[in-house]
Symmetry: C2
Amino acid sequence: MPGNPAVPIAGNRFCIVGGASLVGSATAAELLDHGAAEVVLFDNFAFGSDAAIAHLRDHPRLRLVRGDVMRMADLLRATEGMAGVLQLAAYMTLSMDRDPWSGLDVNIRGVQNALEACRASKVAKVVFASSNATYGYGPGVAGELVESTPFHSQGAPPAAILYGATKIIGEQLCRDAHRKWGQDYVVLRYSTVYGERQHYRAANALYIIETLEKVRRGESPEVFGDGSETKHFVYVGDLARANRMAFESAATDVAVNTSGPAPMTTLQLVEMVTELAGGGPAPRFVGNAPGKVRLTSGGAFRIAHEAAFAAIGWKPEVDMKEGLRRLIAWRDSNEGKAA
Amino acid sequence: MPGNPAVPIAGNRFCIVGGASLVGSATAAELLDHGAAEVVLFDNFAFGSDAAIAHLRDHPRLRLVRGDVMRMADLLRATEGMAGVLQLAAYMTLSMDRDPWSGLDVNIRGVQNALEACRASKVAKVVFASSNATYGYGPGVAGELVESTPFHSQGAPPAAILYGATKIIGEQLCRDAHRKWGQDYVVLRYSTVYGERQHYRAANALYIIETLEKVRRGESPEVFGDGSETKHFVYVGDLARANRMAFESAATDVAVNTSGPAPMTTLQLVEMVTELAGGGPAPRFVGNAPGKVRLTSGGAFRIAHEAAFAAIGWKPEVDMKEGLRRLIAWRDSNEGKAA
């Protein structure tokens, strides 16, 4: 049982479970930039992609391990000698809808396996990627969302509720590990992530890409409802920093929100993407998209990130305009075009 | 896919998964009394007991099947030819604390397996035993608890949150089955059950037995805190009736609370048990019991059961005084002494 929950980055080794991903690749770069002795990207490439990590593959201190969170042996080997493990591997809502059996396995048993592997390998600290999905969906989700806000589920699609509930369970498995064998950990409740190397699996973040592509084709971007629905994204680089700071800080046994500087409305988002894309037709207001899993909230909300500052000294630095500018620049780059 | 979600009891066959239990045995008797052609009690006897079903074992239309919800083949055989399945099998909070791996398996994968078996066996209707644990614990749980009340978890023990989250997931697996293959189902959110053949696994119901035993020994029963904490129990016979009516009603794709006539405070409960036990010393007010999983709420609450009446025509009939009188009479009977 470690005496001090702070794990310095320089000279230490880290494993990122579910590492061939948007957040995984950005965090790997962040840890390597801060002097990590080695970063292991552990992934089964079910959702992870070579494209997401292409820019890192030749890094001398990066190691790629093909493995599965459902195979304990894979995790035991990958966590050997690691000071910290970042647990990212998860099914999100869209994939949970298609395959709830695998989704529940990965999001629950996968976390149990990762925690048990960390115990066996004496990993000092775990950072678990939770989600603002722990506050749920629907009419109840409004106002200031703080860490004690309950989970609202009334009226939400089953897959969304399943996803949120698995994140609640993952957090509790961390707490249980802390109580039972003193496992130090920090839970970060990510809000919707966007940025360079954006994937196509998150219902909310996908909307940015869809909007951009429509604008680029000269089509009207679609706004569902009246456009007043809240979005509160977080830039991937800010999250990579949050993961790094969660390891470095003395915080343990705590769960905090990591959201961007400020929320915005769907209409504001679409207007901002249109402007940054160099202009385009006015948005088209449409009803609900049939056949799509859509996640709605009850009214204006803001995901408070002040507790993260208190716990790990983190606050978001990149606002939506700058983050979207970077995302669009990446999409226009050779790497983005190939992705 | 059945056209009419109403499943009459008379002449039909029913399987109770987790049947060798307090609620299972009472529901079996209820279904047999209403003319069920056969009732199958499916249980692995991990928690279920021979004692819980001893009074039923010679019934000509009752069949006991030793099987495990984690073994699909067992479930496929047990559900063959069944018109209805009642899914009771679950780890509760105390056992979830001891073994979260098995608890999450049984409460999640067990429900998935049962639903898949029902699909394969063309079972017309599933009744899933959920819990008021879907409203959670702690400061947020106060006032009128209705079906849209969110899940509060701040400050609750990990095992309690895990238990509640698995019940939320079980409900969503039912909804998902309804959406994906038209499985008719009713979710009943049981409040804490008590009554004849009381077991020793539920943190709240156990308190009744502990209080009774202390009073009978001439010791002061213990009241935690100031005694104002709310308890809202439901009598097992009322729940058996709710399960039966959930099958019989045309309701489907719905989740409703099934609680007793009214809540009471811990102090009222202790005083009532003392009175019914023939009197005894005054209660002793103590702090929290060390090492025990205790589930607290934020203030006075009532679990509303009006939606159950609207959906399946059910309301509770047995009040605490009558229910406790029956429980104590059973404890004093030969069967109760042997249990």
